[in-house]
Every structure is written in C-alpha cells, then in structure tokens.
C-alpha cells in the first residue's frame, strides 16, 4: 500500500504533477468559491475555452504558453465587459459569442499546424506528462500572485458578490472589480490548464466550491474547505490516473465529483440522507423541534 502510494513519486514529472495539482486545487478551490457564490460558472467555462487562441499562437510561435493564455484571457474578458455595455447585448450573449468564436479560432490555428494534433488533445483533456519544472514554477508564481491580489481586495470582492446594490451605493466601482475578478479567474484557469485541460478545468472551479458550500455557512471556511477538497481530489485523481492509465484531468474531476455527491448525500446539516437518519435516530416524533434551533425562531422569507 505504502509502496503503491510512493511509486509515482519516484518520477520527477509525477512530483511536478502532484505539486502542480495541489497548487491548482487550492487556487481554483478558493477562486471557485466566488465563482459558485456569484453564479458565474458559465463565464468560467467560457474563459477556459476563449483563451485557446492565445495558447495556439504561443504554441506555434514557440512563446510561453502561460503568457499567451493570460494575454488572450485579458483580451477576452475585457471584450466581454465592453460588449455587454451595449444596451442590446446581455452579458450572457457577449460571453456566448466570444466563447465559441475564440475557441473556434484556437482550434483553427492548432489544426492548421498538423504537427500539433497530439498537443491539441492534451490541451483539451490535460496531460500529467506535460508538467515541467519550469511549468511548476510558473504555476506557483501565478497562483501566489492571484491569491495575494484576492486577499488584498477580499472585502471589495466579498461586497460585490454579496450585495451589488450596496456595493454601488458605497461607491465601489463594480465594473472594475468585475474585470479584476475575470482576470483572476482567467489566471486560475491557465494555471490548471496543463493538468486538467481546457474542457475540465471548470469542474475544478465549481465542484470543490459547491461541495464546500454544502458543508458550511461561513465564507472563509467555505474557501478553505474548497481549497482542501480541490487539492485532495487532485492527489487522489492523479493516483487513479497513474494506476488506471486514464487522462489525469478526467480522473481528478471524477474524484471531485464523487466527493461532491458524498457531501450532497451525507453533509452533517444539509445532506439529503443525513438529517433524515438523524431525525429518525434522535427525534422519533417528527413534530419535535430542537429548541435551540434558530430556524424555529425565524421564518424563511
């Protein structure tokens, strides 16, 4: 058992992959908390696809992939913001148009170079073999930077996520913070791209955070739990990928999905099964209410 756990660690590329997925799991778990709370999953999906032309161009020209992706992400996020300023273009529409358009452009660029067919697959679905020491350094630096920025603006981002009307009333520039959040989101996606892949990175943003939301009513605890679940899913997923020979991205995402459903069914307070089992155990009379339960003092709106 111990041997099996240690085996992948003998290889430098697997060490890189493990460290990378832990960092990506933590970062996407924390940023994903705000993606889930703001209900902007579609935007995350869109960004993940829209950075594709940046990847393709840097790949073809031999430039740094992460730099290319970040530039593409910033361009696309600013374009989403700019397009949705138009009275007849909703935010969703702007995202949809740019998302598919940019993705198609990326595929067009990639397939114009027949030599990159294999790399296309690894970008779409992730590849543990692809993580170099240099990539690991970039992922670490990018993640540290974006978490530092998130920490610095935590109150503003919390305020605009919780109550936009109040945020505007206190003079916060909502548009600027929305753009900032988009850029942070794009950087998170880029950091996770190599391991999880373009298509599945959305799950790293949504699933751990959604799981954490089932477990707590506290924002920062949710972010912390989400980071832990993300890292845990990453580690377990990589082992599964190693031993079962399946794509690393899908193994990681499937692990996170299983964790989500476990929480969905068995979460201490909100699980579908747990409260019933507990009620049956402790309160045979269904009319009985716990006297210290706040919900008995309050009525839901």
């Amino acid at each position: 058992m111990i041997d099996q756990l240690l085996e992948p660690w003998q290889f430098a590329f697997m060490q890189n992959a493990f460290l990378a997925i832990i960092i990506v799991g933590i970062t996407s778990g924390i940023i994903g908390t705000f993606v889930v709370l703001r209900g902007v999953g579609f935007l995350g999906d869109a960004l993940a696809h829209a950075i594709f032309p940046g990847l393709a161009i840097s790949f073809i020209t031999g430039g740094n992939i992460i730099v290319g992706a970040v530039i593409a992400a910033i361009i696309v996020s600013l374009l989403i913001g700019a397009l949705s300023q138009h009275q007849r273009v909703t935010n969703d529409t702007a995202i949809g148009v740019l998302f598919v358009g940019a993705f198609a452009l990326g595929i067009a660029l990639m397939t114009s170079q027949t030599a990159f067919q294999r790399d296309l697959t690894s970008f779409l679905f992730g590849s543990i073999l692809g993580v170099t020491r240099e990539n690991l350094v970039t992922i670490t630096v990018v993640s540290a930077m974006l978490l530092a920025v998130l920490y610095y603006f935590r109150r503003e981002i919390t305020t605009i996520s919780f109550d936009r009307t109040f945020a505007a009333a206190t003079g916060l520039h909502i548009w600027r913070y929305d753009q900032l959040f988009l850029i942070l989101l794009a950087l998170t996606i880029v950091a996770g791209l190599q391991i999880v892949g373009n298509v599945l990175i959305l799950a790293m943003l949504i699933t751990p955070a959604a799981t954490a939301r089932l477990l707590t009513d506290r924002l920062w605890l949710m972010a912390a739990l989400s980071a832990m679940i993300g890292a845990f899913s990453g580690i377990v997923g990589l082992y599964v990928s190693w031993y079962q020979g399946i794509a690393s991205g899908s193994a990681v995402v499937l692990t996170a999905t299983v964790v989500f459903f476990l929480a969905y069914l068995f979460a201490p307070n909100t699980g579908i099964i747990t409260p019933r089992a507990r009620r049956a155990l402790h309160h045979p009379n269904p009319e009985h209410h716990d006297p210290v339960d706040a919900s008995s003092m309050l009525h839901k709106p």
Partner: protein, 270 residues
Amino acid sequence: MLSTPASAESVRTVNSSDPLLATDHLSIHYGARSALNDVTLTIEPGTVTSLLGPNGAGKSTLLKAFAGVAPPSHGSIQFRGATLKRPHPDITYIPQRSGAEWTFPISVIEAVLLGLAKRTPRFRGFNTQERQRALDALGHVGMLPLADIQIGALSGGQQQRVFLARALVTCGDVLLLDEPFTGVDVPTQDLFLDLFESLSRQGITIIFATHDIEHTVRSANRVILINNRIIADGPPADVLSDDVLSRAFQGRIMIFGQDHGRLDEAGIQL
C-alpha cells in the same frame, strides 16, 4: 477651482452657512425617459424628510442622486456647499432590499462589518473594537441575539434591520432609505420609526422614500410630494391635507382615512 476632496470637517466649519444638502434645478433622465425634472430644494440638518409619491414618481432617483450614484442630466447636487459627484462617506444610502444574494454564506455580524470595510486597514481583520461597534449597531435594531445567524435565514423585516445596522455602523451624517417600510413586519416598522426619532435627535439627517402616508405622518417633519417634479413641500399637516393632495393629483386620489392611506393603492391614475 479644483474640486479637491477637502476634508468634510473643514468644509463644514468654513462654510457653515451652506445648506447640508441641496439640489439646484436637478433633472435626471434614463435614456429618453425623464425620472426627475427641475427639482430645487434644500435639506436642513437633523430633519426627517419623507419623499412621498406613487411608484415611478422619481423618489428613488432623487435618493440615488443624494447618494451620488445617479448622475444629474441637468442641474447639480450640493453637499455642504460642494458639488456631489460620487458617493460621500458621510452619506449612507440603504437601497431597497432586493440587491443582496440571500444564499451568500455570510452571518449577520459579518454583513454589518462590511459597512466598515472601507475604513478598515487592508492587512488586518476586524478588531474587537470594530466588532463591538457592529454588535452595538445590531443592538440598536434589536438583532443582537441573531448576530451569528446566516443572513438568508432571516425574515424580510429582520434583513432590513440588518441593513439599517450596516448603515448605522458607519455613523454617517445623512441617512437615505429607499422604501424602508415595504415588505417589513409591523414591529420592525415601529422600531424604524423610533430609531428615526432618536437618530434625528442626535443630529442625523434622514431622508426616506415611501408611498405610505401613515409612516410619513408618524415620523417625518417634512414631506416632499413628488411626481417627476416637486408637487408640494412642507410639514405633513399642510401637505397631507385632502385639499393639497387632491389638487396635486388632479382630484384623482381617494384617501381611505389619513392613517392608512397608501398612495399607490389609493387609486391614483397619473
């Protein structure tokens, strides 16, 4: 002259003759629609003013203008003699409650602390003193026992109390409230009326928008009747006479007893 953000304190002492809050021929348009037309008024410190009018009359727009979030199309707004172009820290605006994400994982006290976010240094959390201020504010609105509850578990009236606490915690000199009595239970309405009275005794200026005559009569010492422009302005006893109201609304208003009249339900067709 450069519009430097001179400290509010110095402006107040230097130009003590300036009115606290004033508009000068203020008009606000949303696209082609005129929300507010040629409004000129001044607000005295420590007063409680009710902006009364039917839905869509421009009450909320005028509040937003005072809050610095609705830019004038024509005319201007002055706060302590200086033109108001953006939200001012001494003016606290409480929007109608629909803006918040109720499922957000935030407790009552954390929501109140967000009111202090701008004044708290970035590299530390909220300290004991700030928490105490938040708790005090919650005490004022009778929400102290529920400080640690997730905000979505509260009733509409309780949520509105929390938002009032979030405003009180910053101790602004001017409090702007948009429909504070709407969708709120009677005990909360009474609590708000009491609070308005004690806050105005402390010198805080309160302006609220409502379509409710009863609450206007009970709390305001000035009523501004609005329907796109100012229709009447004065003490409630003068403005809310049947005579003025029926003249203002071209005789198309019926008031079912002064105490319970609500303009929007009173059959106004404007």
